[in-house]
Symmetry: C2
Subunit: 206 residues, 2 copies
């Protein structure tokens, strides 16, 4: 069933799941409540949940616990994913300290840098390793997802190494879109581009 | 002309602009070169640029300098935007230190927190202020964009204050989508949701 869900709906499922986490003291939740908590409209909520095979009981809504389990299983976050971070600069350090990842099942188990002054330091129980150990550690620690917080000019070389090392999922914070084979999934988060979208919007208002 | 460009194309313009920055030593650039640097295909590049009224010279390509100016003006980043940061935790501190923003015309001129241990500290020449000074400072410093790096439970209250204070553009890092009037533009970046999209993708491969 998973294969049928378009990738654009996944962020909605994530938000529904969070709404359920906030409602864990309840037995049932209505589509209207989920809509209120997530900011989508209730028709969208009902449509999405029906699509995932979840149907509410009239007058009661959805069973919180079983809906939670169903959504977790769809998301693939009913397990722990081992994550590596490459680049422990300002942004990388913040990501290492970000509690939200582990709460959602993502555990940063390794961090890499090429700066000798950083290698060996420990941040939130993760010891920063030399980037030369990248492939070895990916293999040994069963790492499935890699976060890149490195300068744009180094991204393509590191991505090439990651792909050779068997990584299929990458979250990239550098302002560049590296070239990848079609079986690799990369999400690019470019913070300046997000600000530019806001500036564009404000510009239109002038 | 700006009003006709759909918002989804704005990130592409941002990336074209960056490709031009990397090519500043050249007089002309071809759509193939822009395509290579940005990862889009050259037909898309030509289509987008024609849409913005930019036409290359056959055999030569686009004039780098004039194309740069045109894109900057479309993006609204041909000026400096004053930005405020609310929440100076791990993520907020990293954002405050992130050099990429200022390079793209976004200057964080104020930062706010409610933690008395943080208020008064200076990070990258920005003095952390008490959150109670929010509205006053927005007005005095002509702030147009606000970045939120605060816990989800505080987001709606701060967003309400920002909107009353005249802010129309918000970049929100908390895992919640606050309710806003239709004339306000908010971009939500939820780092865990991005990882969940990757996990979903990996899950499908199993």
């Amino acid at each position: 069933m998973n294969k049928k869900i378009p990738l654009v709906t996944v962020p909605r499922i994530s938000l529904y799941y969070r709404a359920l986490l906030e409602s864990r003291h309840k037995d049932y939740i209505s589509s209207e409540e989920i809509a209120y908590l997530t900011g989508f409209n209730s028709a969208q909520v009902r449509k999405d949940l029906a699509y995932f095979g979840q149907f509410g009981t009239p007058g009661k809504g959805y069973k919180v616990e079983s809906l939670k389990k169903a959504l977790l299983s769809i998301l693939g976050t009913d397990r722990i994913w081992n994550v590596a971070l490459v680049g422990v600069g300002n942004l990388g350090s913040a990501l290492l300290s970000y509690k939200g990842f582990e709460e959602q099942g993502f555990k940063i188990v390794a961090a890499f840098d090429k700066d000798m002054r950083k290698i060996g330091k420990v941040i939130r129980q993760v010891k920063i390793q030399d980037i030369k150990d990248l492939e070895d550690t990916i293999h040994k620690k069963n790492i499935k997802i890699v976060i890149l917080a490195i300068p744009a000019k180094h991204v393509q070389a590191i991505v090439d190494r990651l792909i050779k090392g068997g990584i299929k999922a990458i979250l990239n914070f550098a302002p560049i879109r590296p070239k990848i084979p079609s079986d690799i999934h990369i999400l690019n988060i470019d913070l300046s581009i997000e600000l530019e979208r806001l500036a564009y919007f404000l510009n239109k208002l002038r």
